[in-house]
């Protein structure tokens, strides 16, 4: 008998993840490789004046989920591999750091994660464009109003 995946023992959580993310970000698609589930979708919000390059993000569910945070990676655009550490809120392996692991709230669902990644991408774009010096630890950097795209 195969070892149970997290969604085998916690089906309610899988259903909740789907309900909430599909409501908040309907363009995201749920996919599976082997036993690994992940969402893939696009984020489009960028600071005003910054070229509107959409980001494709992957939000994956490790086997210990939800006891540990999901894996969040930027699939595109390509990021300089040297851009990691606290400055960029990114781990050396490219995973985006949205929360200190010991502060992870198990009740956080994928829709909230997408919102945090959207903030991260916004902040990252702003820093790369020289609009801010530091990416904030929490939330979105304060900038002049911008036009957001759906």
């Amino acid at each position: 008998m195969a070892d149970p995946c997290w969604y085998d023992v916690f089906p309610a959580r899988l259903v909740l993840e789907c309900l909430r993310l599909r409501r908040a970000a309907p363009s995201f698609r749920l996919r599976k490789v082997g036993t690994y589930l992940y969402w893939i979708g696009d984020l489009t919000e960028r600071p005003a004046g910054v070229p509107p390059v959409p980001a494709t993000v992957m939000i994956g569910y490790p086997q210990a989920f939800p006891a540990v945070p999901p894996d969040v990676f930027l699939v595109s655009p390509e990021i300089d591999p040297n851009e990691y550490g606290h400055t960029w809120h990114r781990w050396a392996n490219g995973k985006i750091c949205l929360v200190r692991p010991s502060h992870w709230n198990l009740a956080t669902t994928a829709d909230e994660v997408v919102a945090k990644v959207a903030d991260w991408y916004f902040n990252y774009s702003a820093k790369k464009a020289g609009l801010i010096r530091e990416m904030p630890d929490i939330g979105r950097a304060s900038l002049p109003p911008m036009d957001s795209q759906e």
């Binding site: 008998m1 070892d3 023992v9 089906p11 899988l14 749920l30 036993t35 210990a64 692991p101």
Partner: protein, 447 residues
């Protein structure tokens, strides 16, 4: 106090009695640094007889190259007249001539070991062993301790048989066999646990020695294998299964273990992520769980017993401790030792004695889960121990006295993301069925 120790498998004595051998030699090992003699066989005339029980002694330290020396003529033995036997057993000196004529041993100024048994047909009474030397024309006699060894181990002779029998039916998984987890594993094996599964990816380092169950002879070995060796060393009878995977990155394998329905899971790991992983999966799979460890450099110990659905889980307690923020007397005082931690790991410089205390409480909590008819439940599911009197934190981490135990009755939390009430949007849904639909839908796109 004896001058040394002689260890003899009982079957060798039986052979002597059976064949009525009058004299001969034991062959075996001698610890050159200490007066310990280990008999492994008999030499009678030209005949060599090995002990059936020698396998029990195969791993004695005396067998290590650096410490032992195999000797064909380890200890001489004699069968002597009963009156002489009793006389030698009670004195320290006797005339040389008396000794030599009774034993036919020629004394020398160098001390030599000698084993004596009584010349009584069929008598298998424990022999006596002495160290004897010639001293001013007298035999100077010092007693050696004799340990007779059964062929098969009987490790629980000093434990209640009903306890051992009951524990023999139980299966426990211990996740994390660092200092604390290894102690708990040994504690449970020592009361007759039937099946023990240990999980840990780490190996033993030199810096572990000071508080670990083993030391330098196991440097570099996987800790799960060290636990196996220590259980074998003590001839304990637990069926032991070992895994060296990481319970977080291989949470699916951990769930595979839980499918075997152990009676209890004990988490003695040193990271928050691993504790949360063990807790979550044990609760979801309805396996009782104990989470134990130390905080604050060993000054505080905690043991949480989780009965899924009946008592609060680890997440409930974390929520409860966070909820006490509003009740702290001083905003400057951190309410719990968890707050302000910059590290995911609960790395500790706890003392060996700190670990032993918490391991002892965890063991006792485990016994109340495994054998509730024999061991009463603890007063509360969350126990917190303080090595020192300390008012740095809020309850339950305040201790008026050193070595104090606080029993904290946390509540099952309806907002717990693991064992709490399902969010309203799931009301009316059959989540098992809905989840299957989700998985079937995405199977079309499987990579």
């Amino acid at each position: 106090m004896s001058a040394g120790t002689v260890i003899i498998p009982k079957d060798l004595i039986s052979r002597i009695v059976e064949h009525q051998f009058a004299q001969g030699w034991f062959s075996g090992l001698r610890m050159t640094s200490e007066e310990v003699y280990i008999a492994l066989g008999l030499k009678v005339n030209e005949q060599t007889i090995s002990s059936d029980g020698s396998s029990r002694l195969a791993w004695h330290r005396a067998g290590h190259i650096c410490f032992g020396r195999f000797d064909e003529q380890l200890i001489e033995w004699r069968t002597v007249e009963s009156g002489f036997f009793k006389r030698v057993a009670s004195i320290e000196n006797m005339p040389r001539s008396d000794f030599e004529s009774a034993t036919s041993v020629s004394l020398t100024p160098e001390p030599r070991p000698l084993l004596l048994r009584q010349d009584v047909p069929g008598d298998a009474t424990a022999p006596i062993a002495i160290q004897v030397q010639l001293d001013n024309d007298a035999a100077r006699i010092e007693r050696l301790e004799v340990k007779l060894l059964d062929r098969t181990p009987a490790p629980y002779q000093r434990a209640p048989s009903t306890l051992i029998e009951a524990m023999g039916e139980k299966a426990v998984v211990v996740v994390g066999v660092g200092s604390g987890g290894a102690e708990v594993a040994l504690n449970l094996a020592g009361v007759g646990l039937g099946r023990l599964t240990v999980v840990d990816p780490d190996t033993l380092s030199a810096e572990n020695y000071f508080r670990y169950i083993s030391g330098r002879s196991d440097l570099g070995r996987k800790k799960v294998d060290v636990v196996r060796s220590e259980i074998q060393e003590r001839e304990l009878l637990a069926e032991l299964v070992t895994f060296d995977f990481d319970v977080v990155s291989s949470a699916d394998k951990f769930r595979g273990l839980l499918l075997q329905a152990p009676d209890l899971v004990i988490c003695a790991t040193d990271s928050i992520a691993s504790r949360r992983t063990v807790n979550m999966n044990a609760v979801l799979m309805n396996i009782p769980c104990i989470i134990a460890g130390t905080l604050n450099e060993g000054r505080i110990g905690e043991v949480l017993t989780v009965s899924p659905g009946r008592t609060p889980c680890y997440e409930c307690v974390r929520l409860e401790l966070g909820a006490t923020l509003g009740r702290a007397e001083s905003e400057e005082r951190s309410p719990t030792p968890y707050m302000g931690s910059e590290h995911d790991a609960l790395a500790s410089s706890a003392l060996r004695s700190d670990i032993a205390v918490v391991a002892s409480f965890a063991t006792r909590a485990a016994l109340s889960v495994l054998l509730p008819d024999r061991f009463a439940a603890m007063p509360a599911s969350y126990m917190v121990w303080g090595r020192e009197a300390d008012s740095s934190y809020g309850p339950p981490f305040q201790f008026d006295l050193p070595m104090m135990m606080n029993y904290f009755s946390a509540a099952l939390r309806p907002d717990c993301p693991v064992c709490g009430v399902l969010p309203p949007e799931l009301n009316g849904l059959n989540c098992a069925v809905e989840a299957k639909k989700v998985l079937a839908e995405i199977a079309k796109f499987a990579g």
